[in-house]
Symmetry: C2
Subunit: 101 residues, 2 copies
DNA sequence: CCGAGATATTGACGTCCATCTATGTCTCCG
DNA sequence: CGGAGACATAGATGGACGTCAATATCTCGG
């Protein structure tokens, strides 16, 4: 690990000014933040990993069965994952099938 | 996008049972969650991206200068990033230099 | 149509957390 | 040594969010 020391002038912490924060394409910063927020909850991360582990879209009721939280909570988490662009939903009759996007 | 339909039996939402949630090596689930939590804040994500954009470790004071939040808030964010294993700190005298881990 | 069931929405509530001010700790210089 | 400055910590506070119960919406079978 090479440091940038030594510091020649004693009244400044470093000789070279740091690089600026790199710009991101329009909307990409918000997208990235939304993805991290979506996966920053234990339940929601597990829901996403369960969906990602499937070979085919998984029914919402099967997701509800596998967690100890209520059905509205699962529905809320699925909406967050959908808004973040992480999963897609396709409805067939009364059932909703989720898959990774 | 191929769905798993049609459903033959009308009283169940799907014919095959979903795959279980895959197991992760010990501690890896907590680590992954900690990383997502650490990057799930706008300020903290920007701090991390600023550190990652450098060619050499960056001084903490240079980070403070680049954001509109107080010095204790930056110190708090840096501690979260450090705890999540995303950055490392090396002190030289009174200055602290941060780099990606 | 009407009832049953699957999913989504609403509103309330408790907890977590980002932020601040104030203060502590540590290092260096005169 | 003592003061100044860089960074960390402590405590308080306001807002964000995960969760639930209740309810709405939608679809299908009888």
């Amino acid at each position: 690990m090479t440091t940038r020391l030594p510091v020649i002038q004693s009244d400044v912490c470093c000789t070279t000014s740091p690089n600026p924060l790199p710009e991101l394409p329009a909307g990409q910063g918000e997208r990235m933040l939304a993805v991290f927020k979506a996966l920053a909850d234990a339940t929601r991360l597990a829901v996403f990993r369960l969906i990602a582990a499937q070979d085919a879209p998984i029914c919402a009721c099967d997701i509800v069965d596998r967690f100890d939280v209520s059905q509205p909570t699962i529905a809320h988490h699925l909406k967050v994952l959908r808004t973040a662009g992480l999963v897609t939903v396709s409805r067939h009759g009364v059932w909703a099938y989720y898959a990774v996007d």
